[in-house]
């Protein structure tokens, strides 16, 4: 699904990634670890297709419509409601049976009651849960998650655990985290970045 050879990324003078090799087969679950500043976010952005590497090659077996990306930012509009945000992404990703799927996800992540409130009024945990809804909305084959647990409260983290376990057999995962033990049972491989 994802193959990278000697991947490198430079921002101006600063070298952020150096000669990374990566192999993620279809159905795999790769955990990326490393200290802050080791380039995890940059690597995941490149894998999701948001960024181009300055050296090396990357091959992605999934089209844009099949990739789900969760970054440090939730990528939702604060002045819109949860429902409006998901409606927008649902339309852009041409999600079939949009309304039902949105409803199902909101309910699963405990946001159904607040679906008509603007995101600006949400707590950080709630916003991150909405971001997860956004990521899963179009049923992506490749899930790229950058520290998904970091903004979640305990209840949200448990929801995510359940969700990942449920989807484990159907998708391919690339997850970066500071807490590899949490996802260890699901992992098929790991990649440690050094700064």
């Amino acid at each position: 699904m994802l193959t990278a050879r000697r991947l490198g990324k430079r921002y101006g003078e600063k070298r952020v990634l150096r000669k990374i090799d990566l192999d993620l087969p279809r159905g795999g679950f790769l955990v990326v670890t490393g200290p802050n500043g080791s380039g995890k976010t940059t690597l995941l952005r490149i894998c999701a297709g948001l960024s181009q590497p300055t050296e090396g090659t990357i091959e992605r077996g999934a089209a844009r419509a099949q990739v789900g990306y969760l970054g440090h930012e939730p990528l939702v509009y604060r002045e819109l409601t949860a429902l409006e945000n998901l409606e927008l992404y649902g339309r852009l990703y041409r999600v079939p049976e949009r309304r039902e799927r949105i409803g199902m996800l909101l309910e699963r992540f405990g946001l159904w009651e607040v679906r008509h409130q603007r995101v600006v009024s949400y707590s950080r945990g709630m916003t991150q849960r909405l971001a997860l809804c956004r990521v899963l909305l179009h049923d992506p084959e490749l899930l790229v998650l950058d520290e998904p647990y970091s903004a979640l409260d305990e209840a949200g983290a448990e929801l995510l655990d359940a969700q990942l376990a449920e989807l484990r057999g159907e998708g391919t995962f690339l997850v970066s985290t500071h807490d590899p033990a949490r996802v260890q049972p699901l992992a098929s491989g790991s990649l440690a970045l050094v700064s």
């Binding site: 430079r10 921002y11 101006g12 003078e13 070298r15 181009q52 300055t54």
Partner: protein, 211 residues
């Protein structure tokens, strides 16, 4: 060397223009520099296209250097044009001279190119933005020119215009030599700057690899 020949021809050989005399000679430089500047901007856009289309890794730098040269020559166009206007009509600026106004607009446009370039971190995004903007530039050239001409209809008709001498004989030869000289000069400066910038990049990469 070509430039020296051109200078020599312009000052000694070409006949004196009937109405303006010796000072008229600046015309040779002004027009040839203008043409060279257009060529530079066109070169910049061509390289920009190569960068976006073919993804040629060298094209971005080449585009930038072309535009830089274009801006240098553009400055000279405005300066020589201004001197010519002063000589011909006693004023330092003339709005009714189409080409001069066009160059003013282009000058502002390409100065903004540099502001854009220096406001973004080096990288693929900077290259893309610069390339797109350079392409906008070439589209702007004919559109602006048409606009300037259209605008004449609603301005007060000014009697000031700058005329070149009627081409013939030595004048044509001198002009061609000057033009060739300017193009060669531009090309030389282009290669010099390109070489220097490439060296810069290579040095930086080496320094980084050692770090």
């Amino acid at each position: 060397m070509l430039v020296t020949t051109a200078l020599a021809l312009v000052f000694f050989v070409a006949p004196n223009d009937a109405s303006l005399g010796f000072a008229q000679r600046i015309f040779y430089f002004h027009v040839s520099i203008a043409f060279t500047a257009y060529a530079c901007f066109a070169g910049g856009a061509w390289n920009a296209l190569r960068h976006l289309w073919k993804r040629d890794p060298r094209a971005d730098l080449e585009s930038y250097v072309c535009v830089h040269q274009g801006l240098i020559f553009g400055t000279l166009v405005l300066v020589t044009g201004s001197i010519w206007a002063k000589i011909a009509w006693g004023r330092w600026w003339i709005w009714s001279e189409d080409e001069l106004v066009l160059f003013l607009v282009l000058y502002l446009f390409y100065c903004a190119y540099f502001m854009l370039r220096y406001s973004v971190e080096p990288g693929p995004q900077r290259a893309n933005l610069s390339a797109v903007y350079a392409l906008f530039g070439v589209v702007l050239i004919p559109v602006s020119f048409a606009a300037i001409r259209l605008a004449k209809a609603y301005f007060h008709p000014e009697v000031f215009t700058l005329h070149g001498p009627n081409f013939g004989g030595w004048i044509l030869v001198t002009y061609c030599v000057a033009q060739a000289a300017m193009l060669v000069l531009a090309y030389t400066l282009y290669r010099l700057e390109l070489g220097a910038k490439r060296l810069d990049v290579r040095l930086r990469r080496l320094r980084e690899a050692l770090a």
